[in-house]
């Protein structure tokens, strides 16, 4: 095999593995859109808030690294609930722009809390698997990316059980298909919405920790790219579709890593956005989208 082919496959592998974190962020955007038909632009920063809280608790308690995940999950779930309360619950149902703007306010607020707390400096984030490298044939498997992929897979498995095997999941799916009919069947919209915000927040917390340890640092500057990447993922897969978000995230990861290899850092994001624009124009429903939007 030529060197070029080797490199292309290597980037494919890295992109695929890193894409799993985009998938988690994308799931957050897509699930909230699924039940409410609205965007939560504060979701990326919710994930970041979870990771920061975990880092804070870790510094305060000097506890084991394993503490990162439960703390981040709990904190981000709580932030998710707060976002639902202040940005969605009291807003008019049929006017999506008001909560959109409110979540932008939330994005600024949480970002500023982080800047305030850390004096705007990036904070080193522990990378438990950062040193591990594995040889897979001629290719190199980065331990942290492999770890990220496995954890993401676990989260997706739990989510699948939750959505398809529990009563809450049934309620969530019915609300996302037909809110009025769901309400007529005695499902409380408010409770389902709150539950979805908490669950997606928790997923965001996991994603935040994974991204923090893969990047090796946390910075408030991450919030905007996370938001944009999450939206791109959700749109690529088709808004409202969880499998779509997973495929979209992996695809985005691969495209980014290949574009990085072929065109360099200056053009990487341009390729991503061009792909997105083309996708939106020629296939507005995304890969797994329904036609209702």
């Amino acid at each position: 095999m030529t060197d070029l082919a080797l490199d292309v496959v290597q980037q494919l592998l890295n992109g695929f593995l890193f894409g799993s974190s985009y998938a988690l962020i994308g799931i957050g955007f897509t699930m909230i859109f699924g039940v409410m038909d609205k965007f939560n632009l504060a979701f990326g920063v919710t994930a970041l808030a979870g990771a920061y809280t975990a880092l804070l608790v870790l510094h305060l308690t000097q506890g084991p690294l394993a503490l990162l995940f439960p703390v981040a999950v709990a904190a981000a779930g709580l932030v998710g609930l707060v976002v639902e309360l202040v940005c969605f619950r009291w807003m008019p149902r049929d006017y999506p722009l008001a909560p959109l703007m409110a979540t932008v306010g939330m994005l600024f607020f949480i970002d500023e809390v982080i800047v305030h707390g850390t004096h705007g400096r990036p904070m080193a984030f522990p990378a438990p698997m950062g040193e591990v490298m594995m040889d897979v044939g001629p290719w190199l498997l980065r331990g942290d990316l492999g770890f990220m992929f496995l954890v993401s897979l676990g989260v997706m498995g739990i989510l699948w059980t939750l959505v398809y095997k529990t009563r809450l999941g049934l309620a969530t799916r019915s609300v996302s298909q037909q809110p009025v009919a769901a309400q007529l069947c005695g499902i409380s919209l408010v409770r389902v919405n709150a539950a979805v915000f908490v669950i997606t927040g928790m997923i965001g917390g996991v994603a935040g920790v994974l991204i923090g340890s893969a990047v090796g640092a946390l910075s408030p500057l991450l919030s905007l790219p996370l938001t944009v990447k999450g939206l791109v993922t959700a749109v690529l897969g088709g808004l409202g579709s969880i499998p779509g978000a997973i495929v979209g995230g992996l695809l985005l990861g691969i495209v980014e890593y290949e574009a990085l290899y072929f065109f360099g850092i200056g053009y990487r994001d341009m390729v991503t956005y061009l792909l997105l624009f083309v996708f939106l124009v020629f296939r507005p429903g995304g890969l797994f989208g329904q036609t209702r939007h």
């Binding site: 807003m91 409110a102 053009y267 997105l276």
Partner: protein
Amino acid sequence: MSLLTLFGFRILLGLSAYVVILTGQISMAQAGFYALGAYTAATATAIWGWPIVPAILLGGLVGGLFGFLVGFPALRVRGLFLVIATLAFTEIVRMVFLNLKYTIRVGDRTIGPAAAEGFRGITYYYENGWSALQIMAFTWLFVLAVLAGFWLMDRSRAGAVLRAVGEDELAAASVGINLTAAKVAAMAAGGLVAGLAGALYAHYATYLSQEEFGALLATFAIAYPLVGGTGSVAGPIAGVLFFSLLIDGLRFLGDWRNLLFGVLIIAMMNLRPHGIIDVGLVRRLRALLHLRRERAYAGD
């Protein structure tokens, strides 16, 4: 003085998003048009040596042209999908300027867009000895012209057409409104105004860096009309005043100001979800005005 000039750019940017919002579309492309206007006009004066007025108009035209071009594919995408598509456009424009290199050497200075280093040496105002007052007046000349244009449009058939499309596309189409024409026209007008704003800003700032023209600027562009309300052209102005007064008025709070900023946006959207000056308020004010006029007639 320079604060008033800054208000001018923000109001133009808010108005450019406002005209698109009237048709029920949310465009994050305004920051891209703004950047295109800024780089074009700056290139015209700094590299080609054009006088200021044609350069600014060229910036506006380029913005308008791209608005027209983006308007067509955007027809296929609606609602929140358009937000993403136009955000992608803004980011693509930003990436182009991140990589664009087109410089000349004048003496010992490098002028023009130098990729990641930004666009240096937009010194038209400085070279021609304009005072801050003159710059402010020149900027507001454009602001007032656009304001007047939009105000007249709002009261004319064109405004009614745009609002009809925004309220209900199906109903608008069924009474014979050409949806394509209305949406593309709104997008082109928005692009033109954003291009003008960017062109004016470039000469005020004297230095451009692609970082300024990202998602944050696009968010502010739509935040002005959304927070201020889309009931009339006063809406975006109210939005600009709301944000600008918060940014500059809360300075005494020091670091805490930025924290309060987000909280206030959330509070505003909860209290007045349709913006400060929404359609309802405009209608009530009109009714009030009308009532008074009628009373005056009755008194005769």
